[in-house]
Amino acid sequence: MKGMSLIVKRVTRYTVGLILLFGIYIVAHGHLTPGGGFAGGIIIALSFIHMVLAFGKDEAKKNMPNKLISIGESAGALLFLAIGLVGIAGGFFFLNFFVNKGEPFHLLSAGTIPLCNIAIGLKVGTGLFAIFMALSLFRLAGKED
């Protein structure tokens, strides 16, 4: 697909970073405010899709190699599983192994919950962006849409 006009490209340069920062904020504060890993991960994916829609997929393919997307998704899934399997020696699954859970309402509290949110945000974000790239790169030969 082709990119859009010049105004859209100029504005996209500024808004892509803001949307990505907002997505990371929602993932990081998942245990204090509504949101969490899933909503934040989808917002991160939407920021990359925003860039692809504005600049066209040929230019986006240069900046985002395939390997990075697949490594990111697998790393997110394996990290989530690893957090769950930490307590397997004692017979626990998904044990919140932090003894000192910190003070409530602070950013560094609640044990493993922020770590799980980060793993899920990474996985969902890169996975949904991979779906979008697969759908947009698939083109019938001789049919431009």
Binding site: F38, F105, V124, I131, A134, L135
Partner: protein, 112 residues
Amino acid sequence: MPLLLMDMVLFLIGFYALIAKRNLIKKVIGFGIMEYAVNLFFILIGYKEGGEAPILSKIQGLGIYVDPLPQALILTSIVIGLGVTALMVALCIRIYQRYGTFDIAQIRRLKG
């Protein structure tokens, strides 16, 4: 209780689109509407009159809260619905590439 019955009517509208339309994308749309109806049903059951959102804050103590358990289950269901719809659309795109049409009556007749 009338709200729950109206929710069932929404489910039936989606079901009608799933079985009575010949276009594949209309069937996918009907599937999506059925999903909205089922998710809404669970959250309607867990509502408490005068309750607050289930997020604690420094200002108030333990008041009356809405049921957080159906919300946790439906959060999972919404994201899974997105994955299933993406897979269905990928299948539709492949079928269109193979047969040239979205009409299921013609897809049944064409052979190879």
